[in-house]
């Protein structure tokens, strides 16, 4: 794993030294070198093994060591099971999908979309000030630390747990989903917004200050126009992500497609379950393509920032 340098060919036979010799002889024919004592050709300095290690190399080694230490996870139950047969049997339940449930699936799909959209909207409002507070270039150190710490804590909790908290607060309905996903999205959007603001070159805003603009004006007219496309592309990503999350949080009763999924699973109605999955697949794929197109349109015109 560690690169060794014992594999170097000896200097006299290495291609590099041959090339060097050629150069020297060419110089010699021009009459520069003293005969009998050919000058030493410059040698490529070889790195010691530890000099070759950088962060990438070291972390790769750590990852490979971690892989070696993680094989117990592959042990399974230890019983002799027909893995392939199990998979075939289970997937067989899904076919053919029972498309007769499309009306209620469509209704649940709409509810899922509504949960995702509302949650994203609330999250934007909450995450924007947190994002500014978390940008090292804009906020004082204590505020940055506080804001980033808060966002980290929020991100640590999975969306399903947030949805569970929502259900505990308002009961099993779509509002619980909105509350849950709002918290979850704030964790991500806040961090992304911070990064977006940090990537903006503040020199322009300082210039505006020098010609008379106030702090808020310098932010609105000097920082925000540059951050806006990034912020919006993160928001689009978040909507997409929330749609996927909203499809699952119904498992704990927080509305949307998940409620249906949970119900069909409960009664082993896998053909109907498959229909719901199909709807999710179509929705997510569509959004992915659409979002990617919009994002590339937005960020294409952006100048290369230093970040």
């Amino acid at each position: 794993m560690i690169p060794r340098d014992s594999s170097n060919p000896s200097p006299s036979t290495s291609p590099a030294s041959l090339l060097g010799a050629g150069l020297v002889s060419a110089a010699g024919s021009a009459g520069n070198a003293a005969p009998g004592s050919p000058p030493e050709p410059p040698r490529l300095p070889e790195l010691r093994w530890y000099e070759r290690l950088n962060v990438l190399g070291v972390s790769l080694i750590i990852f490979l060591l971690a892989c070696a230490a993680s094989t117990p996870a592959l042990r399974g139950s230890g019983r002799q099971l027909d893995y392939v047969g199990n998979l075939r049997r289970f997937l067989g339940y899904f076919f053919p999908p029972d498309l007769s449930v499309w009306p209620e699936t469509l209704r649940a799909l709409a509810e899922t979309a509504q949960i995702a959209v509302m949650a994203t909207a609330f999250a934007i409002v909450i995450a924007l000030p947190l994002g500014v507070a978390g940008a090292r270039t804009l906020a004082p150190r204590w505020l940055v630390t506080t804001s980033r710490m808060l966002l980290n804590v929020i991100r640590t909790v999975p969306s399903l747990i947030w949805a569970l908290i929502g259900v505990a607060i308002v009961g099993a309905n779509p509002l619980a989903g909105v509350i849950g996903l709002t918290f979850y999205s704030v964790g991500y959007l806040g961090k992304f917004f911070s990064d977006a603001f940090e990537s903006v070159d503040l020199e322009v805003a300082r210039g505006l200050r020098a010609i008379g603009a106030g702090r808020i004006q310098a932010f609105q007219h000097g920082v925000w126009p540059h951050a806006k496309p990034l912020v919006w592309s993160y928001v689009l990503w978040m909507i997409e992500y929330n749609l996927r999350s909203a499809a699952i949080i119904g498992y704990v009763g927080a509305g949307g497609l998940g409620v249906q999924l949970a119900g069909y699973q409960e009664y082993y109605q896998w053909e109907k379950f498959a229909t719901v999955l199909l709807f999710i697949l179509v929705l997510v794929t569509t959004l992915d393509v659409l979002g990617e197109w919009i994002r590339s349109r937005i960020t294409r015109k952006l100048p290369r920032s230093r970040a």
């Binding site: 020098a210 010609i211 008379g212 106030g214 310098a218 007219h221 540059h226 015109k301």
Partner: protein, 247 residues
């Protein structure tokens, strides 16, 4: 100092000192960029700042803008009523054409020019942009500089010369008492160079606004400037203020 007072014959008001430096010195690292700089520039002067690259011209302008604090000495900006302010002390009174323009790359040319007057309004009045008549005026200034068709383009979509003209338009729109232009014509052709410097000259002569302009071309200095502040590479922090011979 006394010689400078008689130069500004075009000024509308009787010439009074606008920018006064007393023993001004600026040290970057262990080198004095300039030292012992004494000058009193009357209101409405066009001052060319000359000298080789890296000598401290931009740093001098940065001191005038209040962006750098001089190492020693005093720098005073006198307003029309004779009150004395620190550099950059009156918001919006100093207009700067930065060497690298410092425009907002993801805003339109028009929006960038409009930024010139942000200092005239409290922030809550500029949240939704500036009033209609201000926008019309900004548009006319851009038209004057040949950018009428590109007002709604983003800055990052335009050429270097167009960006430079936008930066100049922003300063003109601001109508500051003191212009600080750092090589404002470095990316412009002969025609536009004459036009831009002519406008700045007019700002000084007609409206009594003082212009400090870094220039490299001696012909342009002779044609447009009244005073020349030259930084000398020979001595440590040496400088010289002289009148342009042809005036």
């Amino acid at each position: 100092m006394s010689s400078a007072d008689s130069t500004s014959t075009f000024a509308a008001k009787p010439p009074s000192a606008h920018v006064v430096a007393r023993g001004l010195g600026l040290k970057r690292g262990d080198r004095w960029l300039f030292r012992g700089l004494d000058l009193s520039v009357p209101r409405g002067s066009f001052v060319a700042v000359v000298g080789p690259s890296g000598i401290g011209k931009s740093s001098f302008l940065a001191c005038l803008a209040g962006l750098l604090t001089p190492t020693e000495g005093k720098l005073e900006i006198h307003d029309a009523d004779g009150r004395i302010h620190a550099p950059g002390g009156v918001p919006g009174a100093t207009g700067v054409v930065f060497q690298n323009n410092l425009l907002v790359p993801t805003s339109s040319l028009l929006s960038n020019v409009l930024c010139g007057r942000l200092g005239r309004y409290p922030w809550w009045r500029t949240v939704f942009g500036l009033p209609r008549d201000e926008r019309e005026l900004a548009y006319r200034i851009l038209c004057d500089l040949g950018l009428g068709e590109k007002v709604n383009r983003w800055v990052c979509e335009t050429s270097g010369g167009e960006q430079q003209r936008t930066a100049i338009a922003r300063a003109l729109f601001q109508e500051p008492e003191l212009y600080l232009a750092d090589e404002p014509v470095s990316n412009l052709d002969t025609y536009l160079t004459g036009r831009v410097l002519g406008i700045l000259r007019q700002e000084a002569a007609r409206h009594g606004r003082t212009v400090f302009c870094v220039l490299h071309n001696p012909q342009l200095v002779d044609r447009f400037a009244e005073l020349v502040l030259s930084f000398d590479p020979a001595g440590d922090g040496a400088w010289k203020l002289r009148k342009v011979a042809s005036r």
